[in-house]
Amino acid sequence: MNYDAKKGSWVQVHQIILKPEERTAKIPEETKKVPLELWVKGYLNVEGNIGDVVEITTLTKRRVKGELVEINPIYDYGFGEEFVPELVRIGEMVKSIVRGDDK
C-alpha cells in the first residue's frame, strides 16, 4: 500500500486539547463553542496517511500523537494577496510636505 507520508517525513499533526465543554468559563461565547486545538511539527515515527492518527518525534525529542494534517508544511503568508495602493499615496504626501511643494 502507498502511504501519503513515509516514516521519517517532516509533518504537522493536530490535536484537540480541550473540547468545547471543557473550556474555562471566562471566555467569549464564540470561543466557548469551539475546541482548544494544537498543532506541532516533527518526524513521523511510522508511515501514515493524511487524516490518520500518527505519532511523531518533535525537535525536542517529545513523542506526540495527533491527526496527520500536513506533510512538509510550508509558510504561505507573504506581503498580502492584493497590493494596497494607499501606501504609495502616503509616501508622496509626506515627501511633498517636507519638500514644501504641497501647496
Binding site: 474555562t24 467569549p28 494544537l38 501606501l87 502616503i90 509626506v94
Partner: protein
C-alpha cells in the same frame, strides 16, 4: 501513578511547576496576599546592570544605534506652530540578533537557564519574544520550545503571528501552535512539566532586568548626541516589561527628570480571547487589549508576581489608532529610508503627535524599532484586513472603529496623541487590588504598597479606597 494531565490536574500543580522551572520562590517576597517586596525580588537575581551588559555582549545583544529622525522632525515642524516640533530620536533595536528589544529580555533568562544546568528553555509567547528566546537558545546550545496562540478555529492565522512562528522554527525551535484562548497557559505548563525546561517567562525578574540596559544606553547616547537627557522617552506598551525595564535603566543612569510615556494601539471593543475578533485586528501586540489589563493588574502573567509593573513608572499613556501607525510606518520608510515593524512604530506614531506640542529644543526618544518582513509589513496587514472585510480608507483616524475600519490620516496633522487618563488606570488598579484583599484587611504597609504600585501617594490611595 501516572500524573493527571487534565486541565484541572495540571493547573493544580501550577505552583510546583513554576517553581521547578524558574527556581524562584515567589512566596519569599510575599508579605501578605497583596503586598510583596518588588525591589528585593529584582535584587535577588544577583545580576546588576554591569552584569547585564556583559552577558548581553556575549551574544551580541544591545549597543544599538540611537538615530535622529531629521526628516520626520522636519515634517513635524512643517505642520506645527512656529517654535514647536521636538527632535525625534529612535533607538534602532532591530539591530539585535533576532530583530527586536526582546533579545535583551531573552538574553538574561537563557543565560540563567544555561548557568543553572537546564537542557532547554520554554516560553509562552505569540510575539517577537519567541524569536528572541529561540535565537539566544541557539547561541547557548539549548533546546527551545515556544508555545504560541496562532490560529482561529478555521486555522487562519494573522500574517504577523505566522511570521513570528516561522522565525522561531527557522532559528531551530520547536513551536507548539494553539488556537485562540487563555488556556494556552495549561498547554505551556504541560510542556514545562514534560520537558523539565527552564521557564524563560517574559515577566520574570531576569526578563525585566535585561531591558534595563536599554534605558541606560538611551541616557548615555542621548547625552552624547543631544547634549542632554531626553525630555520624554516613549515605549510601546503591552505587558509592561518594555516600559518597566527601560524606565529602571534610565533611573540607574541618573536620568531622573526624563518623563516616561507609554503608547498603545487603540483596539477598544475587540475581545482578545474571541475566536471572531482574533483576526480582525491588525496589531498583535502593543495594543490596549493587553496593555490595559496588564497595566491595571500585572499579576495576570505566567508567574505569580510579574516583574513588569508599568504603572510604577508611567507618567502618561497615549493611544494611537491602527491607521496612524500604518501611516507612520510608511512615512518612516519613505522619509527616513527605514523599514521597521509595527510594535516599535506604535510609539513612533505617538511621538510624532506629541512632538507637535513640544518645543523645538526638546528631545523625544522612541525607545525601539523592530524588524519587519513578510507578514508584518503594512502591505500584508492591510491586504489581510481587507480580505476580512475591514474597510480601509483615508480620513480622520479619530473616527476609526477597531474591527470595522482602518482610517489612514488624510493629512499627517490628523495624527493625534490621545491622553488616556492616568487616574482611570490608577483607580482601576486599586479596584483590582480589592479583588485580592478586603478593604477592611488593609494595613499601612499595603496602602504604601498601593502608592508605589500606582506611582502616587498614601493620600491618593486612601481617597480611592474609601470613596
Amino acid at each position: 501513578m501516572a500524573l493527571d494531565m487534565s486541565y484541572k490536574g495540571v493547573m493544580s500543580r501550577q505552583d510546583e511547576i513554576i517553581k521547578k522551572s524558574t527556581r524562584i520562590e515567589y512566596s519569599d517576597y510575599e508579605i501578605n496576599k497583596l503586598t510583596f517586596d518588588y525591589e528585593k525580588m529584582m535584587k535577588d537575581t544577583g545580576i546588576n546592570l554591569q552584569d547585564i551588559i556583559r552577558i548581553q555582549r556575549e551574544t551580541g545583544v544591545g549597543n544599538t544605534p540611537l538615530i535622529e529622525l531629521k526628516n520626520l522632525t522636519r515634517l513635524v515642524r512643517k505642520i506645527s506652530p512656529n517654535g514647536k516640533g521636538a527632535r525625534i530620536f529612535v533607538k534602532d533595536e532591530q539591530c539585535n540578533p533576532s530583530g527586536s528589544f526582546k533579545d535583551r529580555r531573552a538574553s538574561i533568562s537563557v543565560y540563567m537557564a544555561e548557568k543553572l544546568g537546564y537542557k532547554g528553555v520554554a516560553a509562552a509567547t505569540s510575539g517577537n519574544y519567541g524569536a528572541a528566546v529561540a535565537s539566544q537558545a541557539a547561541m547557548r546550545n539549548l533546546d527551545c520550545i515556544i508555545v504560541q496562540e496562532c490560529y482561529d478555529s478555521k486555522k487562519v492565522g494573522q500574517p504577523e503571528i505566522l511570521e513570528k512562528q516561522r522565525k522561531c522554527e527557522c532559528l531551530g525551535s520547536e513551536v507548539i501552535q494553539l488556537s485562540v484562548g487563555p488556556e494556552l497557559f495549561y498547554s505551556f505548563l504541560r510542556s514545562l512539566e514534560e520537558t523539565g525546561f527552564f521557564n524563560a517567562s517574559l515577566y520574570s525578574p531576569y526578563g525585566i532586568a535585561g531591558v534595563e540596559s536599554l534605558g541606560y544606553e538611551i541616557a548615555m547616547q542621548c547625552r552624547e548626541q543631544a547634549g542632554k537627557d531626553p525630555d520624554v522617552v516613549i515605549a510601546t506598551n503591552a505587558g509592561g516589561g518594555n516600559l518597566t525595564g527601560t524606565a529602571r535603566g534610565l533611573i540607574k543612569a541618573g536620568a531622573v527628570d526624563t518623563k516616561i510615556y507609554g503608547a498603545s494601539v487603540d483596539l477598544s471593543g475587540l475581545h482578545m480571547a474571541s475566536d471572531i475578533d482574533f483576526n480582525r485586528k491588525s496589531f498583535t501586540t502593543g495594543h490596549t487589549g493587553f496593555s490595559i489589563p496588564f497595566t491595571t493588574w500585572p499579576d495576570r502573567a505566567d508567574v505569580p508576581r510579574s516583574a513588569a509593573r508599568a504603572l510604577r513608572y508611567m507618567d502618561e499613556y497615549l493611544l494611537v489608532k491602527q491607521g496612524e501607525v500604518f501611516f507612520i510606518t510608511e512615512t518612516l520608510a519613505q522619509l527616513e529610508g527605514m523599514e521597521r515593524g509595527p510594535a516599535g512604530n506604535t510609539s513612533l506614531a505617538a511621538a510624532f503627535a506629541l512632538a507637535r506640542e513640544l518645543d523645538e529644543d526638546q528631545v523625544i526618544v522612541v525607545q525601539e524599532t523592530e524588524y519587519t518582513s513578510a507578514g508584518k509589513h503594512p502591505l500584508a496587514q492591510l491586504s489581510f484586513a481587507r480580505q476580512n472585510g475591514i474597510e480601509i480608507k483615508f480620513g480622520n483616524p479619530d473616527e476609526e472603529i477597531p474591527g470595522k475600519n482602518i482610517i489612514l490620516p488624510e493629512h499627517p496633522s490628523l495624527i493625534n496623541s490621545r491622553h488616556y487618563e492616568m487616574d482611570k488606570l490608577r483607580s482601576s488598579y486599586i479596584k483590582n487590588a480589592l479583588k485580592v484583599v478586603d478593604v477592611d484587611e488593609l494595613q499601612d504597609i499595603d496602602i504604601e504598597f498601593l502608592a508605589e504600585e500606582t506611582n502616587t501617594n498614601v493620600d491618593y490611595v486612601k481617597k480611592n479606597l474609601y470613596k
